[in-house]
């Protein structure tokens, strides 16, 4: 499907929002405004946005500990996200979830998930609902290369095949699970081939190229929407920073990091659309200004917001003892 100018703007907006949001998370974390841990999605923007680009609010995604980018790509409100990440009233989960548990059912976002391999089985279930109700919708499970070794993930692959569920397994291979390289921890020559051996189509995609991701996802979606079953994508991308905010990354040489930065999906997108004269720099600059303002406003709001009311400690669970 050909992309209109508006589509392209939407894609850029998505990727750039993630970029600015995550850079800001990084900064606010250093300032002490973000409690706990944060895992940022910098460098992987084209993956989340490419996968979610043609999804509707009635399609579902299940995410990971590195979920901010997926949330934004799926349409979650950045103010609600920033409030949540800072543990404030009005956050998308009322401040009870935090960075690793942002969810928004109204957007088909089934939750970030702090358990590696937690989402794939759940996504199979969401896909099953679509199959039984014949909605033509799908469910996507985002997982990392690390998560691709978790037993729950393998089970989900097989289950989706057996039940013919329209689940799409998006394996974001950023080369690392925490501080260990995929080249060590994934014994298989290829995550995509391993998925394929479970009985579903699978392909490897350049995860720094929005267009490539979206096109591959289009093939997965076509199969899913037609009720033909699951699909797997191995999306090869780069994690610009450490595993969590603050990881010094002595295990990665500067050259490797530089190489990753040189393949930054955002300038790549800009170059491609401007060179092809689909959008011009002014269009993109306007978007960037917008987003800077939007994220700035979200941060201001969140920093100033109060903590959740203490009485909410024991709500949203069925009983107290």
């Amino acid at each position: 499907m050909q992309l209109s100018r508006d589509d392209l703007k939407r894609a850029y907006r998505g990727m750039f929002t993630i970029r600015v949001f995550e850079e800001r998370v990084n900064k606010e974390f250093a300032l002490g405004n973000i409690p706990g841990f944060a895992h940022v999605y910098l460098g992987q923007e084209a993956s989340g946005v490419g996968v979610c680009f043609d999804l509707t609010d009635e399609d579902y995604i299940g995410s990971t500990h590195r979920g901010h980018g997926h949330c934004i790509a799926k349409g979650c409100d950045v103010r609600g996200m920033m409030l949540e990440i800072m543990g404030k009233e009005g956050g998308l989960c009322g401040g009870k979830g935090g960075s690793m548990h942002i969810a928004d059912m109204s957007k088909g976002m089934l939750g970030a998930n702090a358990i590696v391999g937690g989402s794939p089985p759940i996504a199979v279930g969401a896909a099953l609902t679509q199959k039984l109700r014949k909605t033509g919708k799908v469910a996507v499970a985002f997982s990392g290369d690390g998560a691709s070794n978790q037993g729950t993930t393998f089970e989900a692959l097989n289950m989706a095949v057996v039940l013919g569920a329209p689940a799409i397994f998006a394996f974001e291979n950023n080369g690392y699970g925490e501080h260990t390289a995929a080249s060590y921890a994934v014994g298989a020559p290829s995550i995509a081939e391993r998925a394929k051996s479970f009985g579903m189509p699978a392909e490897v995609v350049d995860g720094s190229d929005f267009f490539a991701v979206r096109e591959a996802m289009g093939r997965a979606l076509e199969r899913g929407r037609a009720g033909e079953g699951p699909y797997a994508l191995e999306i090869v991308c780069s994690r610009f920073l450490g595993h969590f905010v603050g990881d010094p990354q002595a295990y990665r040489l500067p050259e490797e990091l530089a190489k990753a930065r040189a393949n930054d999906p955002i300038p790549r997108f800009r170059a491609r659309v401007t060179e092809a004269q689909l959008l011009d720099d002014a269009d993109l600059d306007a978007i960037e200004r917008d987003i800077h303002a939007e994220v700035e406003a979200a941060v201001q709001l969140a920093v100033a917001a109060p903590r959740p009311n203490i009485n909410t400690l024991e709500t949203d669970v069925y009983l107290r003892y």
Partner: protein
């Protein structure tokens, strides 16, 4: 109203709820049976036959056979539940929860709270519990403390056919994840069960026998044993009240405290090992909130701190049996 077994009561509850609500589906290993085989499909209905003939009536879209992948079964159920279905998943023996516990306690149980009340996870996990079938250490556990301790789960232990049907219907209509624990020893138990659908509410104990000298609290298959000992003691003029809380979480604290307020003496009978057990849990409730009523130490009858042994004589001694229950009761009664 007619005589039905515990198994039949459960099967009937499933069938009636599936007829009533098209969102109710069943998912598990061999819940239909025979898929891909040369002969009959759907004739098995679960290893214990609890889902028998549901496949025939509701077909493959609503009675789903799965691979042996419990994490994917539970995940599929919870993912289906948060997106609008009401799955009833089967974990054949509760002993198998170890391979899928994360999907229960970290995922399904936590969605509602962790997502700030915005997710609803209406699912039931049916599972068979208990020793006594000589099935060995990995097929004979109870493990209800494992679920009772988890915030966000409701835990049901029906002790008779009437409760089995009514509690299962409540479970299916509940919007939170419910663990429905079926005592294998009770599958053949008969009782009067209404033909129509009805609910037995959660958190309301059944006073299985009234009494004034001593309170027994027991769950599931242990209720019959408690009643039997109560009957023996009645022969000596000792009047025992038997409380069956029906659900371990929510727990009808009031019924237990009221009974102990009357009798002053308590023995808790439970088929889990002693540490961090349901027996200890209820004892500690009374030691905190019913202390003034207590006339004697609180007795506990549990399994020993061992895995379940295979040999029949060892297993019979392992389980809370009438002799051990009676001994505990006499010790508590003798205390002055």
């Amino acid at each position: 109203m007619s005589k039905k077994t515990y198994s039949q009561a459960i099967n009937e509850a499933l069938r009636q709820e599936m007829r009533r609500d098209p969102n109710v589906i069943i998912i598990g290993e061999d819940v239909a049976g025979g898929h891909g085989a040369s002969g009959e499909t759907g004739g098995v209905g679960g290893v214990f036959g609890l889902t028998k003939s549901l496949y025939t009536e509701f077909g493959p879209e609503r009675v789903l056979d799965t691979p042996i992948s419990e994490s994917a079964i539970i995940g599929a159920a919870s993912g289906a539940a948060v997106t609008g279905l009401r799955p009833v998943a089967e974990i054949m023996f509760v002993d198998f929860v170890g391979v899928c516990f994360d999907q229960i306690y970290n995922q399904a149980a936590k969605f509602r709270y962790m997502f700030g009340g915005k997710a609803k996870t209406p699912m039931v996990i049916r599972t068979a519990i208990g020793a006594g079938l000589r099935a060995g250490a990995q097929h004979s556990q109870t493990l209800h403390p494992l679920f009772t301790m988890v915030p966000g789960l409701k835990v049901v232990m029906p002790a008779n056919p009437y409760d089995a049907k009514g509690l299962l219907i409540s479970a299916i209509r509940d919007d939170d994840p419910v663990i429905f624990m079926e005592s294998k020893l009770l599958y053949g138990m008969e009782g009067e069960v209404p033909d129509e659908a009805y609910r037995v509410p959660f958190g309301e104990a059944n006073i299985a026998r009234e009494g004034k000298d001593l309170t027994f609290v027991a769950f599931g298959a242990m209720v019959q044993r408690a009643l039997a000992v109560a009957q023996t003691l009645a022969g000596e003029g000792i009047s025992v009240e038997v409380i069956d809380p029906r659900t371990t979480s929510p727990l009808d604290e009031e019924a237990i405290l009221d009974s102990v307020a009357k009798t002053g003496r308590l023995v808790v009978i439970d088929e889990s090992p002693p540490r961090c057990s349901l027996a200890g849990d209820i004892s500690s409730l009374v030691a905190e909130k019913g202390f003034r009523s207590l006339k004697a130490p609180i007795g506990k009858v549990t399994c020993p701190h061992t895995p379940v042994p295979f040999a029949p004589n060892l297993e019979d001694e392992f389980m809370p049996n009438p002799r051990r229950i009676e001994e505990a009761a006499r010790a508590v009664l003798a205390y002055r």
